[in-house]
Symmetry: C2
Subunit: 257 residues, 2 copies
DNA sequence: CCAAAAGTGTTGATTGTACACCCATGC
DNA sequence: GCATGGGTGTACAATCAACACTTTTGG
């Protein structure tokens, strides 16, 4: 059960001998959502040579749990750590090979394991924007937050993967609480509402939203108000850790009695 | 785009040279639910030599869409055709190797591609019990419906996969209509109710159930009654194809206004 | 006629939705 | 003072859950 060798490969070794360490034909792509300035953001990497953008993904070591691989690859490519990743779909179209707009092996390597067809498993996560200090890895020119509305054309089918992640997130919003990882520890009701509005892409009634959220019984109102705003100071809330986790496990409601 | 060679391999070829035709390290497992005698059933295969039971699964040809592979493998292993399969999860624990309780290569083959670690993608489907004539393939002794409550210990982590499929099905029940593929074309309200009760594992109120289901506006009541029962003859219903498909696409309800 | 299953309707409680009113803050 | 955002409450509508009554059928 002990974790076997997880060697650090040079770029050349990675292309030429990666298949000796990683599972072939399977990759991981992470869709990392953040929230800032009333905008839903997604974290993207920029390739060094082509300057094309992509989702931060990676590969699975031969003895590694796929979820472990998702967490590890996210950390190594963006610096993000301690993040709960939610699997949402496995993409299995045969016409999404890496050669097209993806990684090209460096000169001197004719045929790499990376040129073959890959099935990719998608994970998404919600992270607190301000906590994140993205650090691009050696392959990447930069690692940046993009406005979800302004995402450029990505490599391969990454736009499609992003779309599907967003769809899964929206569906989940009705069954599971959201916000704990997207907002600072202390937040205001309007802030939480903006988050929901942004994810759902529609306006919600301020008063009804408050009632509904409080009825879920997962928030705790603090005896503090958020100062410094231009208007009346709103109360601060935080998630009740225990109740939040319970709701995460059991879901928020059950249909049919 | 044309479908490339999909050769028919002998058993020996399959173990020794399968990796030349199929993607390595990745498999598919199908969980086929049926409904009969007020019981939820699942379709299982029995291995010829070990007599152990498993889910009908398979592998992906190098140029094949994963969903296509799910459909093809289901057909070749059980005879079932024209079935909508729903992907629900990718299982990526490294400790689920085929050698343990799974396929063993025949004598004479030391190391097969099948002995290596596999990630499996799970699909489930709901089928009309009476329409199905399961036909086991060459590897299998038999192909049979099992009562969901009486499923034996399966190979590998197949019990876990089945559990997760059932969980996904239950969650889906609240967001999407179910029944079209589990019941005969014409069915009665009590029959539909038994189906829901069986999947959810709890009793529902007859009158409220009827109101709720009819409110979904996906059923059409026929001018016929089911004759032959011991008591008052219940009406027959059928699904409205167009409305059913619309509900399938859009979901049945949307939270938060 | 009786038991069991099925069709239909009623009621009170809960929840959802659309509002109105008042309070605090900066300009 | 006033525009803007925030806290709280109310009224009506829609939905849900519990239950009663009637009809049909085989024995």
């Amino acid at each position: 059960m002990g974790k076997a060798k997880r060697p650090k490969l040079s770029t050349h070794e990675f292309f030429e001998k990666g298949h000796l360490h990683y599972l072939t034909h399977i990759s991981i792509d992470n869709v990392i959502f953040g929230f800032h300035d009333n905008q839903l953001k997604v974290l993207l990497l920029e390739w060094k040579e082509t300057h094309r953008w992509c989702l931060p993904g990676g590969f699975i070591f031969a003895d590694e749990h796929i979820e472990e691989a998702a967490i590890r690859s996210l950390k190594s490519r963006t610096g993000l750590d301690n993040i709960y990743l939610q699997q949402f779909y496995a993409f299995g179209d045969p016409n999404r090979e890496r050669t097209k707009h993806g990684i090209s092996p460096p000169a001197g390597i004719k045929k790499s394991w990376l040129s073959e067809r890959f099935i990719t498993v998608g994970y998404y996560a919600l992270v607190e924007f301000s906590k994140v200090v993205p650090k691009p890895d050696e392959f990447s020119e930069s690692c940046q937050w993009w406005d979800i509305e302004k995402v450029p054309t990505l490599i391969l089918d990454h736009n499609h993967i992003l779309e599907k992640a967003l769809q899964s997130l929206r569906l989940n919003l009705n069954d599971y609480p959201v916000g704990k990882d997207l907002l600072p520890q202390k937040f205001t009701m309007p802030e939480l509402q903006r988050l929901y509005e942004t994810i759902l892409g529609k306006q919600l009634d301020r008063r009804n939203f408050q009632k509904k959220i409080l009825a879920l019984d997962i928030l705790e109102r603090l005896n503090e108000r958020k100062q410094g705003g231009a208007h009346k100071a709103p109360f601060l809330y935080k998630f009740d850790q225990r109740k939040y986790e319970k709701a995460m496990k059991q879901g928020l409601k059950f249909g049919l009695q």
